[in-house]
Symmetry: C2
Subunit: 435 residues, 2 copies
Amino acid sequence: MKPRLPLEPLRGFRDLLPPDSKLLAALADIFRELVELQGYRYVIPPTLERFQLFALKSGEEIRRTMYVFRDKAGREVAMRPEATASIARIYLKHLRGEPKPIRLYYIVNCFRYEEPQFARYREFWQAGVELLGLPGLEADIEVAKILLDYYEKLSMLPHIEVVVNNIAIYRKLFNKYNVPEEEQDRILHYMDKKEYEKATELLERHGDELREIVKCLWDSGSPEEALDKCNVEPYSDEVKNLLVFVKLLQAYKPAAKIKPELSFARGLAYYDGIIFEVKVPGFPVSIAGGGRYSGLIALYGGEDVPGTGFAIGLDRTAAALRHLGLEEKTIEKPPHRVAVIVIGRDPQALLHAYRLQHSLTEAGLPATVVYASKKVLKKLGKLVEEGYTHAAIIGLKEAKEGTVTLRDLRERRQTKYSSVEEAVAALSAAETKPT
Amino acid sequence: MKPRLPLEPLRGFRDLLPPDSKLLAALADIFRELVELQGYRYVIPPTLERFQLFALKSGEEIRRTMYVFRDKAGREVAMRPEATASIARIYLKHLRGEPKPIRLYYIVNCFRYEEPQFARYREFWQAGVELLGLPGLEADIEVAKILLDYYEKLSMLPHIEVVVNNIAIYRKLFNKYNVPEEEQDRILHYMDKKEYEKATELLERHGDELREIVKCLWDSGSPEEALDKCNVEPYSDEVKNLLVFVKLLQAYKPAAKIKPELSFARGLAYYDGIIFEVKVPGFPVSIAGGGRYSGLIALYGGEDVPGTGFAIGLDRTAAALRHLGLEEKTIEKPPHRVAVIVIGRDPQALLHAYRLQHSLTEAGLPATVVYASKKVLKKLGKLVEEGYTHAAIIGLKEAKEGTVTLRDLRERRQTKYSSVEEAVAALSAAETKPT
């Protein structure tokens, strides 16, 4: 007896089978169609990159949880924990000569060595866009708008809440008080983790005034309140941008809830402008998020190209759809009315059976071939349970004549067609006939 | 100045942008549609597996070139070099209770640390099927037939050559002469590498008789010749199977060249029946391959479930399509006749611009929004070069009235529509109008 292998996937990894695999594919397809029509171009970045690419600015937590190793040539490489760093590199390598703005999208799997939890896996799927070369608020609105379009297509619009903030308020404030960049990143990291006490400790090193302004911002229920109460005069433009962003998105899709939250931050350290996250109240993790990163491309050694974008957590969105009971219509639209099992009753009849199957699938009808077996013929009734609507029985006689004996499995009626074309035409009619 | 990062992807890895990324996606979509209709179910295996899973039976060369490392918990893990081993594990974990046959398909990236060459990369894409639970030749025919269907869809059928052999002839022969399994695998490995002298050296250890039969098989130009000339009496059924396989496929698609080649083997050590490889004469690497593996699932500690399947090299197929000059029609069918640029001339008009874009993309028309800029308005002529056919100009006036000013960029004609719906209807008509 050979050694038995563990049959489980590695901890935090998954084997995806239907309906899960189909739902994931459908979510990716809907995304792709949406962004292609809006002028975004498909980019496939490599799964492995130099560790350095991600280490530079992806934030403490991601750095700690990366799958890093040395390849056979001794290079320190990492399986991507996210895609934006690769997209920035790809821009610098391939696209810097092109007219701006540049619109790109990706659909990738990412890897993080985190403790597996509900809807959090060590391998997970992200679909996202990056809009490069537009510094204005319109760019942030454009990408956030795509998110709303996407969740509208999934019928999720009335169920989502888009939490938004403008990190530029904090970046400008911190710069004025000479908070070093690394310390800024840590304060924002604590804000992301809702560890406001730890953030306050760091703020206190830079004096009471800064701490008070930040606390006032955190406590503000809205940008209007912040403008009113907090001492944000030099940054008021950034607070106003947040307000315009929220109002325009809300006007675009009144069914969605757009919620400014001034104490909100995100885990990736490269954000420095408008940020947003999509949540479903009652669902434990956010399902999408993004924002502006003006400094990322300059950091990688390029010119100063502003960028903004988002990533949709496809696995999380799938789980949220299930949570809301909305997954059914996303998987298959429209479902097939006809599904044919082609039964070859003799080895000599197989070629005719395959030709029939070929004609059926070319006509867009699902068709599977099974092999001559009395067992199958005795169990014709069972085939309905397996999802088939028709059985095409192909014996030596049919093969010789080029005919097709077709059995309607639900109505238990058998019809003989004089050619493959006639049978396909009859089944196509059944497929398109309104019920 | 910040440290400059290398902008190249890692050696052997690629940044895929349009048209390459679109071609790869199109090749995957065509495959998916084809196999879904034939009753295959989509499986997404994890990218990382235990090293052991692949080490057991994937063949010397793959074992040497795997991306292997220890994860943070000390597990020895590997990035998949191929998908069949994972599918076998997934069958044992999730599907062994289901009625046979079981039809599965996958579309995955694989990783091998090989010397990069033309159309060979360290990260490459494979689309494949596995048909489990059918021991007969019909199963081998079914999967090979799908390959022919696929290359027919790519208009490649007249250009391909399907090289086939039946490894069962050799397995049965080797077993009769008590060649240990590991040595069998090595002989087949040398056959795969066309290192027939090394294979002969191994064969000689088991006596002249075996060596002579094998040499006779290698030298046979056809299964008929082998039946006629070589001493294959105990294995003649397997030679006849090869003959039936070739004849049926040739009858199914006379345009393709089906070529039996008795000295041909494949790199994966688990094959033990019919094998096949798709080549394009004049193109340096094979573009797809597969075969039967009866022992793989038993090897992983399960019952004896026969399997057969194939993997298409999507990158190699893309390169072969280019080589043949056939890639154009695969990428986009049908291409759009209309592409709209929506020009928002004022921040206050943006909402109206977005609504127009939304209505256009919902109607399936490509539409991109740009922001108020005199520069753009002066360069309307340039937009044609960028691929746009119409510009929708949305100023404050249009936003207030809900109207759309539409400019046909090629005919330089401007029309005002009284509503978004009217403009979309006009553009939809232009999209569907036959030229």
